[in-house]
Each structure stands twice: as C-alpha cells, then as structure tokens.
C-alpha cells in the first residue's frame, strides 16, 4: 500500500488556474510543514514562484484553516488558495 504515505494537495480559484493544477499527490516526510511544502513548490519556478510569499496564500489542512507551521501527516489533505471572496 504505497498510498499510505500520501498527502493530497489541492489548489483553488486563481491559484488553481495559474498553476494549471487542481490536485497533486506528494509523499509525506517527517517534519514537513505546510509552509515548507509551499517553499518546495515555489522552487519549481514559473507561476509556482508566487507561492513563496509574493501573494497571500491561505492554508487549510483537512478542511480546517491553519498556519504555515502546521506539520503534515500521511493521509492529510492540504489546500492552498487565495483570500476568500464569497458572500
């Protein structure tokens, strides 16, 4: 069961469009935080570079808003999105 070690990463709205990515799967690793994952993704360059603080990015882990320091576990669903604009 290699999926046991997977973290699902989701993108919404402007980020989903600009990164041309709705969902990614990554391998969990000890000590990986949501903020560290953002930096790793930003390092891919191109449109991904904006994840490194150039634009505000909100973070949810398992559908609850959280801070970049949040450590990610296998099985987690982490989502990155722009500030919300509903209502």
């Amino acid at each position: 069961m290699t999926t046991d070690n997977t973290i699902v990463v989701k993108f919404f709205a402007r980020l989903r469009e600009e990164l041309d990515t709705a969902t990614l799967e990554i391998e969990a690793e000890p000590g990986l935080t949501a903020g560290r994952l953002l930096q790793d993704l930003a390092a891919k360059g191109g449109n991904w570079a904006q994840l490194d603080g150039a634009q505000p990015v909100m973070i949810a882990v398992n559908q609850v808003m959280t801070k970049p320091e949040k450590e990610l576990q296998a099985g987690d669903e982490v989502a990155f999105f722009p500030p919300v604009t509903g209502g």
Binding site: F12, R16, F81, V84, T85, G87
Partner: protein, 148 residues
C-alpha cells in the same frame, strides 16, 4: 440548515421555515445578498462562484455554532450559491430566529460577516471577453475582526 447549491432559493420559504421552527420566537432577522458589480472591471455581466466542497459546509456550520454560543439562536438558515450567476441574482441568504431582536440581528450579521472572510468561496467577475478573480476587500476583513 446549511445549503451550498447552484440553483436559486426563495427567501420566503426560508422565512416560513424560521417562523415555524418553535415557540417563543419573537424575532426573525434575514439578510439576502445580490450579485453586483465590484467596480474592479468594466461591463461586468455576471460572476462565477467557486468553492471548496466539504470545507465550505464545515466552516459555515462552525460559524452557526459560534453564533449560537454567543446569542440566543432558535434556528439559523444559511444558503450560498455557486457556479455562474448574472448581475442582480440572489447569491447568499442568512436568516436567524431568536426570542430577542438584538440577538437575531447580531447573530445574522455575525454569520454574514464571518462567512465573507472565512468560508472558502471565490468570485470571478465575467465580462463579454474577459474574466477576473475578485480580490478580498480590506473592509470585509475589518468588519469580521470587529466581532472578535
């Protein structure tokens, strides 16, 4: 009662459900939001509303729970539409019934303000030939923080 849906809603049905929700109700406050031009773009004809399925409902349930802890809330009903909406269509409904009018107003306004800053919905404005993601207004953040 929380619903996230593409189709339109009827505030009158929601009002009747609130009114029928129990004895001792003396006050029903409702809010309905309509699609309007944000002013960011010219010639806006409508919106596209994206959301985060699952999380959206959880966040709104949390807001209703918080409102119920802070004020007397007999029942609250929240509806938010998603997908493509034209100008002046109904987009959001919040209704609260309570024993007391101050509580009905406060809970309704709190849920509406908090929804705008914490529920994962995103609006994209649409014109004839372009689209544009709406940016969060600082005023909305401030209004929500005023409840802390």
């Amino acid at each position: 009662m929380i619903r996230v849906q593409q189709q339109d809603f009827d505030p009158a049905e929601e009002y009747h459900a609130l009114r029928d929700s129990g004895s001792g109700t003396g006050a029903i406050a409702t809010f309905t939001g309509l699609v309007r031009d944000s002013g960011d773009l010219k010639g806006v004809t409508g919106l596209f509303l994206e959301h985060y399925p699952g999380m959206t409902e959880q966040v709104i349930e949390g807001l209703v729970r918080e409102a119920s802890q802070r004020w007397d809330v007999r029942e609250a009903r929240v509806i938010h539409r998603i997908g493509r909406l034209a100008l002046s269509e109904q987009i959001v409904f919040v209704g609260v019934c309570s024993a007391h009018r101050g509580d009905a107003f406060a809970a309704c306004e709190f849920i509406m303000d908090a929804l705008k800053t914490s529920a994962p919905f995103w609006k994209k404005e649409i014109t004839g030939d372009s689209e544009h993601w709406v940016e969060q207004k600082a005023a909305d953040r401030d209004r929500s923080q005023s409840w802390d």
